[in-house]
């Protein structure tokens, strides 16, 4: 089964009022178990914050809890190889990539998972890394 890894931009589109057809389609595939989806646990913290900024703590708690229970997404924890690879990426591209970006990219490369991302992150990914990374781009 195809492996995919979601970034916070894709989740941002999902949690928007007028989500795009592309994001709705991939979320439906995940729900139906047609793809094996992964996401860093840290990305859920970002999503919580983004929802909370507009809709408050109660709604953020409800939406994130429900999201986790509705979609079969494997939540990824840090391990030693990921720490070292992500650390290396951060050293090389600190001005462009956040810690979470670095972990997401390191995980996608290791698992040969397609990174499902928005153009916001993609613009920041250095060219040499991008050559090895398989990705699907979503527009805002």
């Amino acid at each position: 089964m195809k492996k995919i890894c979601l970034d916070s931009g894709v989740l941002g589109i999902y949690f928007s009022k007028d989500r795009t057809a592309e994001v709705k389609a991939i979320m439906d595939e995940i729900k139906a178990g047609k793809v094996s989806a992964y996401m860093l646990k840290h990305v859920l913290i970002e999503a919580y914050f983004h929802i909370c900024k507009n809709q408050g703590v109660t709604e953020a708690t409800t939406q994130i809890t429900n999201f986790q229970s509705q979609y079969p997404i494997n939540l990824v924890d840090l391990d030693d190889p990921l720490i070292l690879h992500a650390g290396k990426l951060k050293c090389q591209h600190a001005q462009f990539l956040s810690y979470i970006d670095c972990i997401t990219i390191a995980f996608s490369l290791r698992e040969n998972a397609e990174l499902h991302t928005t153009e916001k992150l993609l613009k920041q990914i250095p060219h040499n890394t991008l050559q090895r990374l398989r990705f699907v781009k979503y527009n805002w």
């Binding site: 589109i13 928007s16 795009t20 983004h50 507009n54 809709q55 999201f67 001005q95 916001k120």
Partner: protein, 96 residues
């Protein structure tokens, strides 16, 4: 006195909104105003979670209810994420 303090600092003193008694089977009645506000009705599943020392009761929504609850326009969400990203990179790189 407590009310005055509550008004002066909402974060420190919060008035209880409702109080109910747990029965001998551990059951409580969720107050009507809360059921209405959160669309909790007969058959609604709820999740109990301990978060930061408090018990939170979170109603489980269907995918359709979840979609309806997302009210942030995409353009606004895009701005929130941009701002967050900029702040995050600044904080992370200022630390170093």
């Amino acid at each position: 006195m407590l009310n005055a303090l509550a008004r002066s600092n909402d974060m420190m003193y919060m008035e209880p909104k409702a109080s109910v008694i747990v029965n001998n089977r551990g059951m409580v009645t969720i107050p009507k105003n809360i059921r209405e506000r959160f669309n909790i009705h007969e058959g609604t599943r709820v999740v109990f979670m301990e978060i930061d020392g408090a018990i939170e009761v979170i109603p489980v929504r269907t995918v359709e209810e979840m979609e309806a609850a997302c009210t942030i326009p995409r353009a606004r969400m895009s701005t929130i994420i941009d701002d967050d990203r900029e702040q995050e990179l600044k904080l992370e790189n200022d630390e170093a």
